[in-house]
Amino acid sequence: MDALTFGVQLLNGVQYGLLLFLVAAGLTLVFGILGVINLAHGAFYMLGAYFAYWISAHTGSFAAALVGGVAISFLLGLVLEELFVKRLYGRDHLAQVLLSFGLILVIDEVRQMLFGKDVHSVAPPAWLQGSIQLTDVLSYPVYRLALCVVCLAAAGAIFYVIQRTRLGMIIRAGAENRDMTRALGIPFDLVNKYVFAGGIALAALGGILVSPISTVFPGMGDGMLILSFVVVVLGGIGSVAGAAIGALMIGLTDTFGKVFFPQVSSILIYVLMAGVLLWRPNGLLGKKEA
């Protein structure tokens, strides 16, 4: 493999890792701050992609799909938190597993009623179509580069909100000690709602962004759910920085695994996870037992 092909694969791996990070960051925030395990996270990723397909098919605009899809998902998150998730904060993880499994079945069927179960594709915005010609035979799609930029911007925004804003301060305080935060009169329960909805919006954003480079199909959420779980296990629950490291590790392992060891590539990430579990059972940046 020459240096240029290697570079392209490296870029693919990083781009995949960044996308994984967006989805896994939503998951790890909901785990870390609300203490809720949400198996339906992948379903919202899938739903985001279908929103992108539906909105862009009707308006012809990918930007409308991006804004509309994220907004709808955020509102959906607020509604679900109010209706169901709120009641589960004090319950055991088993109840959370069952609720989110029930939600997956409901979301899947509602999606089928609204959008059918066909496989779709979404056109990227016109100004991002085309490829950069690297050599005579090698080119790189512009949209994938734009995807990297958007993911990096989103990652920067997540870090900024958590580390530099008042909202982020409440989130960090709540993650550290829920009861103490409440006792001090800080509106942590209100923040909960936005964290949950924000997590869901991140999953949907991942689905929307991926729709122009991958097909939109009903089962796409399941694979993403497992991958984000592995990312969170690698990085440590509740750690956004850990999710970033874990996501890049998975992205690169998967991409180069497919190149060098195509026979066993689907198993490699689990081997990586097993290795991290042996070395650090709480994840690379995980602190305490969940």
Partner: protein, 337 residues
């Protein structure tokens, strides 16, 4: 008081067994096959309950053991006849035990949410192993053209082609698994497992080998699940990666909670109830999964104790303190619901 509550339960078991034995002679073949299928899934739910209910460990990879058992039968069935039960069943169970040992040893290093996620991920690893590679027909699965045989002196003692024979085999397996789990739970081993669930730190400081106890329970439970999968594959003559998928793992978890985690046989009741409900919904509604999802959500909020709770609500005089299901706790004290 204790004597009084014991006698009806022994009578109840006898009555249920009598009905179960008589059933294949009175109902049509469809129901015999349905009951066989439900009993094997019930056995799977019962095995999961050893880990979830008595061990407090929410595992999401039990379908993988179930499916692995089935795939082992598919691998060992020759092209021209049935596999020998003498050889294939112990081999399958040994392999499943080895898989459960490795997954358990890694997963049990973690707690709580981590454990759920890690078991889910390893279960899906096995799913993708069979789904993505060509070792067993990939996503299309594999047919098992011949039922396994129990040959002694040149004669097959067990004709699994007969629905009625298969039914009794499934019944015997389920009863055997129930007795095994009951004995385990009542033994010092079971007490240690429950102690670790209720307070791990205290169990550790009392000198219980918590990790080893949990791992043993995990492997035993995985082997029972594998056995159920072995015979389930034999019943349908077909294995597919979906048998290992986490949707099945989550579904049997629903059965465990539906039937109630506090008893040995509760999850079997849950399995019958959920499979029965699915069967009815499938024939009546196109979007039956929507209703299944809503039923699960309703279960979480309205009936966290499962059908057992419903029974105690309807017959309050039968409430007894030992029936309250023990649950794995999260870091906060559970709210009263």
């Amino acid at each position: 008081m204790k004597r009084l509550s014991k006698i009806p339960s022994a009578g109840l078991i006898a009555a249920v067994l009598a009905v179960a034995v008589a059933l294949p002679f009175v109902v049509s073949g469809y129901y015999v096959q349905f009951a066989s299928k439900a009993m094997l899934v019930g056995m799977l739910a019962l095995s999961l309950n050893l880990v979830v209910g008595y061990g407090g460990l929410v595992s999401l990879c039990h379908a993988a053991f179930f499916g692995f058992g089935g795939y082992m039968l598919a691998f060992m069935t020759p092209e021209d006849g049935g596999a020998s039960l003498w050889l294939s069943l112990p081999t399958a169970l040994l392999v499943v035990a080895a898989v459960a040992l490795v997954i358990g040893a890694l997963s049990l290093r973690t707690r709580g949410i981590y454990f759920i996620m890690v078991t889910l991920a390893f279960g899906e690893m096995l799913f993708y192993l069979f789904h993505d590679t060509k070792i067993a027909g990939g996503s299309d699965g594999m047919y098992i053209y011949f039922k396994p045989e129990l040959v002694v002196g040149g004669r097959n003692l067990l004709d699994l082609e007969s629905a009625r024979t298969f039914y009794f085999v499934a019944l015997a397996l389920l009863a055997g698994a129930a007795v095994l789990v009951k004995e385990l739970v009542g033994s010092p081993f079971g007490r240690a497992l429950a102690a670790a669930r209720d307070n791990e730190r205290r169990a550790l400081s009392l000198g219980f080998p918590v990790f080893r106890v949990r791992l043993t329970a995990f492997v035993v439970s995985g082997v029972i699940a594998g056995m159920a999968g072995f015979f389930s594959a034999s019943q349908f003559g077909f294995v597919a990666p979906q048998m290992l998928g986490w949707h099945l793992s989550a579904t049997i978890l629903v059965m465990v909670v539906l039937g109630g985690m506090g008893s040995i046989i509760g999850p079997v009741v849950g399995a019958f109830a959920l499979i029965g409900l699915e069967e009815v919904l499938k024939t009546s509604f196109e979007h039956w999964k929507l209703i299944k999802g809503l039923v699960i959500i309703a279960l979480v909020f309205l009936l966290p104790g499962g059908l057992r709770q419903l029974a105690t609500l309807l017959m309050p005089e039968r409430v007894d303190a030992s029936a309250t299901p023990a649950k794995p706790r999260s870091d906060e004290a559970p709210a009263n619901v």
